[in-house]
């Protein structure tokens, strides 16, 4: 009877998980999706606790309580820290898969239960799980800026990485043939942990959206492998949903940068940029908050292009104030969101939603570009590469071919930037030297705040 109850709970959970993602298709039903997902998870856990093999609940209870105590505060992080939290949870997911795989290997080893197929599935689970674990920890460290965010590269890096992966795969194959060679299993564990670190070291902050998506996919595949090890369909299905989600997001991110997976992972983007950094002095124009206010006031169509700089400066609430002022004067204000703006997919949308900007004001690149020539003012807030016209015209640029927001085609562009130093990527932005572009120097939050003051009459310019 009990096995049937467990399976029925798993079946219901499967159903709820699929609907959970289905309901995420639109903001109006999305919260129902979270409810469905958590009910499904609750059913799956209850169904499992009925399992007759469970002898003691002591350690389970302790782990569940500590997990809750750690999980609740982790859900309170500021929204600018969501990429780090996400990377950390990929690390936890990978770790759980790796540990279960290790436990199963050493449980089955003395019992002679390690069939070639089981061993293969365990090797995959451990490889993907531990690689995701350390890789995601590195990514979280870079996002939190505990670890330097610039790409760390050295000669022969790809050779070393591929060599290590090759050794791990060879050891895995040998294990499938002879599962009793437990030192080789430990070698696979060690190499997976090491490989995760080495894979992320050469990746820079601007590539984080792709890397996070890719690690998301690996975490899902590790759960699938775990499902094959434990012969559990629910794990296979939930893992496959997570894996395909990560893969779709990675593909969208790569397309948005016009790069391939191999290019992101092994491209050593940093080296190309070093050469592009040396450019001659060129002239640009700067403006004051008052100039910008006068232009914005007379505009009928304004597009704001937010980037990672907006998140760093926490400028989203000041932008909301500016949005209110402009809407009050009958200006049509929209926000053009590039898929790789920020540090993870959808990052800008969440920050602007936090600042109470209605979601129908957030538009995609294609829609923004379609009306660009009729746009009076584009306000670039902490974005750089995604508005660089070199991506359209300069074949020598590292970002050539990347789909960009054509801010330069608007009548006037205001770009908020700390200084004229090329940003993280080290690529000169052609936009800043165009005749229709005016620079507003300073911290994004302070500059937008000054703009708002000009509108409300508190500014120093009067």
């Amino acid at each position: 009877m009990i096995p049937h109850l467990t399976q029925a709970a798993y079946l219901a959970a499967t159903f709820l998980f699929v609907f959970s993602l289905k309901w995420l298709s639109h903001p109006s039903t999305a919260r129902r999706g979270v409810l469905a997902g958590s009910v499904g998870m609750g059913l799956a856990v209850l169904g499992t606790l009925l399992h007759p093999h469970i002898e003691s609940f002591q350690w389970i209870a302790i782990a569940l309580v500590i997990g809750t105590l750690v999980g609740v505060p982790l859900s309170w992080v500021p929204l600018t820290a969501v990429p780090q939290r996400t990377a950390l949870s990929h690390a936890f997911g990978g770790m759980a898969a790796g540990l279960v795989g290790t436990a199963k290997y050493f449980l089955w080893l003395p019992e002679g239960e390690l069939t070639p197929f089981r061993t293969f599935a365990i090797v995959m689970e451990v490889l993907l799980g531990f690689l995701t674990c350390t890789g995601s920890l590195m990514a979280a460290g870079k996002l939190q800026e505990v670890i330097p965010t610039r790409p760390i590269t050295y000669r022969g890096q790809n050779l070393v990485n591929l060599g290590l992966l090759g050794i791990a795969v060879a050891a895995g194959i040998y294990l499938v043939v002879d599962p009793t060679q437990w030192p080789l299993f430990l070698l696979v564990v060690g190499l997976s942990l090491l490989f995760g670190v080495l894979l992320i070291i050469p990746i820079g902050g601007a590539d984080m959206p792709t890397v996070i998506s890719l690690l998301n996919s690996y975490a899902g595949l590790a759960a699938v492998a775990m499902g094959f090890v434990l012969e559990n369909n629910l794990l296979i299905i939930a893992g496959a949903l997570d894996g395909s989600s990560g893969l779709i997001l990675s593909i969208i991110m790569c397309r948005a940068m016009n790069r391939s997976f191999t290019n992101v992972l092994f491209g050593a983007f940093g080296q190309v940029q070093a050469a592009a950094g040396a450019a001659e002095q060129r002239s640009y124009r700067s403006a004051t908050a008052q100039d910008a206010m006068l232009m914005l006031e007379q505009a009928s169509r304004v597009v704001v292009v937010p980037g990672y700089g907006m998140a760093v400066a926490q400028a989203q609430h000041r932008i909301r104030d500016l949005f209110d002022q402009l809407v009050k004067r009958g200006v049509d204000v929209r926000f053009a969101i590039h898929p790789v703006a920020g540090r993870m997919p959808g990052h800008m949308n969440v920050l602007l939603a936090e600042a109470d900007i209605p979601y129908d004001r957030l538009i995609e690149v294609e829609d923004a570009n379609a009306d660009m020539e009729q746009t009076d003012v584009v306000l670039v807030v902490g974005a750089n590469d995604i508005v660089n016209p070199a991506a359209r015209s300069d074949k020598g640029s590292p970002i050539f071919g990347m789909p960009i927001i054509d801010a330069d085609k608007a009548r006037t562009v205001f770009a908020i930037k700390r200084s004229m130093n090329p940003g993280f990527a080290g690529i000169e932005n052609e936009l800043y030297f165009r005749d229709n572009c005016l620079m507003l120097f300073g911290d994004a939050k302070a500059v937008v705040g000054d703009l708002v003051k000009e509108f409300t009459g508190e500014g120093g310019g009067h």
Partner: protein, 98 residues
């Protein structure tokens, strides 16, 4: 064994297909909540961890299983809570006009 291997592969292929179709329909607005939600869902790894932590066969397996339960539970709790917190912020267009 043979049968279960093949049926698991069928399940995997079909689930991947459903995943692609469903997730392709997710609005770009919600890609961050999508990632935190799928992350919480894939913490279903807790199902495997619970049995290993609870069956108490060897000290090693109990310790590894317990840590895995902890890691999965953290992801479940923080994943669902933060997804809901983010989704609450997406205001309907009517509300914004007022």
């Amino acid at each position: 064994m043979e049968f279960s291997l093949w049926s698991m592969l069928f399940v995997f292929v079909l689930a991947t297909f459903i995943g692609f179709e469903v997730i392709r329909g997710v609005s770009r607005l919600l890609h961050t909540p999508l990632m935190s939600l799928t992350n919480a869902i894939s913490a279903i790894a807790i199902v495997g961890s619970l049995i290993i932590a609870g069956e108490q066969k060897t000290t090693l397996s109990t310790v590894l299983g317990t840590v895995a339960v902890f890691a999965s539970m953290t992801n479940i709790v923080s994943g669902f809570l933060i997804t809901d917190r983010m989704l609450r912020m997406f205001k309907r267009p009517e509300a914004g006009k007022r």
